[in-house]
């Protein structure tokens, strides 16, 4: 594993549940990723514009601007072309999944999640060797 390589990767976490944001932050930081957090869609997108993360982990059901809209905006922004998008949501029907992928996501994971599964998928998306494999 290369914590060093992971250190260069920036992950944006957007969720209106503070404790979930906290859990993800600890989980990812412990693996060496850089993280920034937002608790609603609007500020999440602002951070993405300015910080240009490698990966955006988005909740869907959020007030005002939901995760799907954030994803669409990222996809419409040329200088954010390289941002990987991962939905992490409680909405679990196949219609929800299709909508998520249509909004431009690379991956769609339904809550509750398994920590290791998240780390594996994040590593895959960012092309980083996983510490657990």
């Amino acid at each position: 594993m290369t914590v060093d390589k992971a250190k260069t990767k920036k992950i944006l976490i957007v969720d209106d549940e503070p404790n979930i944001v906290l859990a993800l932050k600890y989980l990812l930081q412990d693996e060496g990723y850089q993280t920034r957090e937002a608790y609603d869609g609007q500020s999440g997108f602002s951070i993405a514009l300015e910080w240009k993360p490698d990966l955006a982990m988005l909740d869907i059901m959020m007030p005002e601007i939901d995760g799907l809209e954030v994803a669409r905006r990222i996809r419409n922004q040329t200088d954010l072309n390289n941002v990987q998008i991962l939905f992490l949501t409680a909405k679990g029907t196949s219609a929800d999944r299709i909508e998520g992928y249509q909004a431009g996501a690379e991956l769609y994971i339904v809550k509750p999640f398994d920590n290791n599964h998240i780390l594996e998928k994040v590593a895959e998306l960012l092309d980083v060797e996983n510490s657990f494999t």
């Binding site: 503070p18 944001v21 608790y39 290791n116």
Partner: protein, 901 residues
């Protein structure tokens, strides 16, 4: 005035009428009829007012005073009856394509040829005297206008050429032929003619009113002046009073009856009000507009009669006062206008009467007779309808010639009105058969024939024959000695009846025999199938006009043959047009057997052209009627009635079913909504559960997998896990609470709780949270118990919910909450106020709904399930209380709770 001018003006006027007619005809051909409205319809009915009204009313008033008005009161009083009868007659006539009163009667009694002939004869005899008085009035008014001497002797050859009436008669014949026989219309509709008639009615009314105004306000000094002179002279008082002797009253009564019947059944009235009717609904307006016309044209009769008596020499004929008065004052133009008005009255009556008579004579008299002769059948008529027009033209000339002769021989010797009433009495003979036929199912052909024949004979010997005797054509002895020298056959005192005038005498006896025989013979005779079928149509016309296919008798005919008949009788162009029109509705694909609809269609069109009885004869060899016995027919009629009743019942059932189904649909919709709400609720609840579980699971996994976690981290993780577990527990409790509320099966026993105590214990529980957030709490509670109708636990829950919301939305730095309890009017008011930011209006509206959560700014989501306020509201409302929220900039957010003591 020079006679040349008068003749010229008369001609110009006729040309004007013709132009109006052509204009109206063209308009209706382009679909923008000027005739298709109740006003023209009502005006056309004023063809009722002939020269009898125009000239004769004044003459009558000089003899009987107000008695003249009976002729106008009759139709006015009978207007409601008229409305009822006419509606029915029009519906029947439109349904069966009936084009005359003779056809109407013949068709009712099994399309009887004999009744058609009989009615036509009654009408020809009845109307010819009536036409003759029109000719007389035209001639007389012409003489007054041109101031030529009195009548010349008819038999004086050289005088014939000097008598202007000849020329007028010929002119009217030409005019009638031009108007009435331009083409053969299956409906016998002449919109142009009706427009001209309505115009003439206007001219009549205006000229009459002008003379009235002239006489009353210019010749005299108003009505007061005229009447005071009338009262002062005993010779004049008769003009302004009513003859109230018993014979006067009898006469008055019969004139009322006669005029009411005549307004309906005179051939010209039947023609304008039924045959030319565009829309049944016009009858309603006409039932007041027509009487109004009669009233207007009568108001100046008495004043003119008085003025004539006062001013004009005794030798002056009262029938011509209206013309003589303007001339007396030297107003020639006004006189000319009156002359045109009178000419209008005569011309409209003559034209319409002669046209309707010619239709009847050709369809109901000539056609059946012609069709019975062998040659007609063998040679056929190349195109029967073309032949018919020629026949009608001849008939028109013949009728006018007869009327002219009658005028020359008889009418000259009598006043206008007395001859007019003779005609009315003839029309009366049709009334029993028509009215009985409309309402009495047992009315039979034999009854109608018997009644009408008897009535006609009595009328004939008591009214027209005596006029011939009095004119010297017959032996005058019959007037004094009775017919054949039998004293009980004295024409004006039949069967020894005394003290009544000759009109009443004739009406009484003719009606006794007419109605008596009609009723008696109908009761004693049986009706054949045709009669029953037609009678059912007449009596229950609404049923047939609603269900046009309800023909009782089944008929068979070949399509090809029927088409050939149409071509043969109506000409190839007309036949093709008709077939095209029919094909639009229903195919006439030439499979051999024609449908009942097609047979009916052919029958109706031939009926329109040739009359019911003639059409029946024309088709008799080509349409086979299934032989049905009387009992079968009755059964059929009963079945039809049953089917109708059944279909009505079915309609009712369908309606009920529709209602039930609507109700079910509504319930179903509600259930679906409920179901959707439930599904939404479950999905929201599961979503709300997933969130804490996700957090718990994530932190637990971290605790589990990372051995080298610091103690602080471990403590933090565990703290979060416990908090989220608490959240789940709360959520579950509240979901259960909501379920209870929604299913409303919780028992409601009334308990009481101390509100002050409840609030205090809630605050105690919240104390740690309040301190943690450094919130200042201000309380204003009474220092005594306040018992309220509420469950202990629920009240505690309500206060906890309100408090936790207040804490949640407090100003994060300098939080302040004030809580108060006031008592008033058997109620308490609890207010919980916090100093947080304003909550937007759109959110306030939804705040008490399930899973509504308000989130301030862009900080993390507030804790809670979104069910707390929903539960609060439900608890409070359950106990009849209210809870509301207000939020404003300087006053923060306040929850107000009202509960009953």
């Amino acid at each position: 005035m020079d006679s040349g001018i008068v003749v010229f003006i008369s001609l110009i006027y006729l040309v004007l009428l013709f132009v109006i007619a052509i204009y109206a005809q063209n308009r209706s051909a382009r679909g923008i009829s000027i005739v298709n409205n109740p006003y023209v319809y009502s005006l056309s009915m004023a063809v009722f007012c002939t020269v009898w009204t125009f000239y004769g009313s004044v003459g009558r008033a000089t003899q009987t005073g107000l008695g003249f008005s009976a002729v106008y009161l009759g139709p006015t009083i009978a207007a409601p009856l008229w409305y009822m009868l006419m509606r029915k007659i029009i519906l029947i006539s439109k349904h069966l394509r009936i084009t005359s009163i003779a056809d109407f009667i013949s068709s009712r009694y099994g399309k009887s040829t004999f009744l058609g002939i009989l009615t036509t004869i009654v009408l020809v005899f009845g109307i010819i005297p009536y036409i003759s008085i029109q000719l007389k009035a035209i001639g007389f008014s012409f003489e007054i206008m041109t101031n030529t001497g009195s009548n010349q002797d008819f038999w004086d050859g050289s005088a014939f050429y000097r008598d202007k009436v000849n020329y007028f008669t010929i002119l009217l014949a030409v005019f009638t032929i031009l108007f009435g026989t331009r083409h053969l219309d299956p409906h016998e509709r002449h919109e142009g003619l009706i427009a001209a008639i309505a115009f003439e009615s206007l001219i009549k009314l205006i000229s009459f009113l002008l003379v009235g105004v002239f006489v009353v306000f210019i010749a005299f000094d108003g009505l007061g002046d005229l009447f005071s002179r009338g009262w002062s002279d005993p010779a004049l008082s008769r003009v302004i009073s009513l003859d109230n002797s018993s014979s006067g009253m009898t006469s008055w009564f019969w004139v009322l009856v006669l005029s009411a019947v005549a307004a309906m059944f005179l051939p010209r009235q039947f023609h304008v009000s039924v045959v030319e009717n565009n829309n049944v609904s016009f009858v309603r307006q006409a039932s007041w507009m027509f009487p109004l016309y009669l009233f207007l044209i009568s108001i100046f009769v008495i004043p003119i009669a008085l003025a004539g008596k006062i001013l004009l020499p005794a030798s002056s004929d009262p029938d011509m006062y209206i013309l003589s008065l303007p001339l007396f004052y030297g107003h020639e133009l006004l006189a000319l206008f009156v002359y045109i008005g009178g000419f209008s009255a005569a011309a409209s009556m003559v034209v319409i009467s002669v046209i309707s008579l010619s239709i009847m004579v050709s369809n109901n008299l000539m056609m059946p007779l012609l069709l019975r002769t062998r040659t007609a059948k063998i040679n056929g008529f190349a195109v029967l309808s073309d032949r018919l027009l020629g026949i009608r033209r001849v008939i028109i000339v013949v009728i006018l010639f007869l009327a002219y002769t009658f005028y020359k021989v008889v009418s000259n010797n009598f006043p206008l009105v007395s001859i007019g009433l003779i005609s009315f009495a003839a029309i009366l003979q049709l009334a029993p058969a028509v009215i009985g036929g409309l309402f009495w199912p047992r009315a039979s052909k034999k009854g109608a024939i018997a009644g009408m024949t008897a009535g006609f004979i009595i009328w004939f010997i008591t009214l027209p024959l005596p006029t011939l005797a009095e004119s010297g054509i017959l032996d005058p002895a019959i007037m004094t000695d009775g017919y054949f020298g039998l004293s009980f056959l004295k024409p004006h005192a039949l069967l020894g009846i005394q003290n009544v005038d000759h009109i009443s005498n004739s009406c009484i006896w003719s009606m006794i025999f007419n109605i008596g025989l009609f009723g008696l013979v109908s009761l004693l005779s049986t009706q054949d199938i045709q009669e029953l079928a037609q009678g059912d149509i007449y009596i229950n016309i609404t049923k047939y006009s609603d269900y046009p296919d309800l023909e009782v008798i089944r008929k068979e005919a070949s399509v090809l043959r029927l088409k050939q008949l149409l071509v043969r009788y109506l000409g190839s162009t007309r036949a093709r047009n008709l077939l095209n029109a029919f094909d639009g509705k229903l195919s006439t694909a030439s499979d051999d057997n024609a449908s009942q609809e097609f047979i009916g269609f052919v029958e109706k069109n031939l009926t329109g052209a040739f009359g019911a009885a003639s059409a029946k004869l024309l088709l008799s060899s080509d349409i086979r009627q299934q032989n049905i016995t009387l009992s079968q027919l009755n059964e059929l009629i009963n079945q039809t009635k049953e089917i109708l009743e059944y279909s009505q019942a079915l309609e009712l059932r369908t309606q009920e079913l529709q209602e039930t189904s609507d109700e079910l649909a509504e319930v179903n919709k509600q259930l679906k909504e409920l179901d959707k709400l439930k599904a939404d609720f479950i999905s929201t609840v599961t979503h709300e559960l997933r969130t804490p579980i996700t957090t718990i699971s994530s932190f637990a996994q971290m605790l589990d997998s990372k051995a080298n976690l610091s103690e602080d981290r471990k403590k933090e993780y565990l703290g979060i896990i416990l908090k989220e577990c608490d959240r789940i527990r709360r959520l579950i409790n509240q979901v259960l609470e909501v379920e209870k509320i929604d299913s409303v099966c919780e028992t409601r026993e009334i308990t009481y709780t101390d509100a002050v105590h409840g609030i205090k214990s809630a605050i105690k529980r919240m104390q740690p949270l309040i301190e943690e957030k450094n919130i200042v709490l201000l309380m204003s509670l009474p220092d005594h118990e306040v018992k309220i109708k509420f469950n202990d636990d629920k009240f505690l829950q309500v206060i906890l919910n309100l408090m936790s919301n207040a804490i949640k939305f407090c100003d994060p730095e300098k939080g302040k909450i004030s809580l108060s309890l006031e008592e008033f009017d058997e109620k308490i008011l609890v207010k919980v106020n916090n100093n947080g930011a304003v909550i937007p209006e759109e959110f306030l509206r939804r705040i008490f709904e399930k899973f509504t959560q308000y989130k301030q700014g862009n900080i993390a989501k507030p804790e809670g399930s979104g069910l707390g306020l929903y539960i609060t509201k439900k608890f409070v409302e359950e106990m009849g209380g209210t809870v509301s929220i207000e939020s404003s900039l300087n006053h923060g957010t306040t929850f107000s709770l009202t509960l009953h003591l």
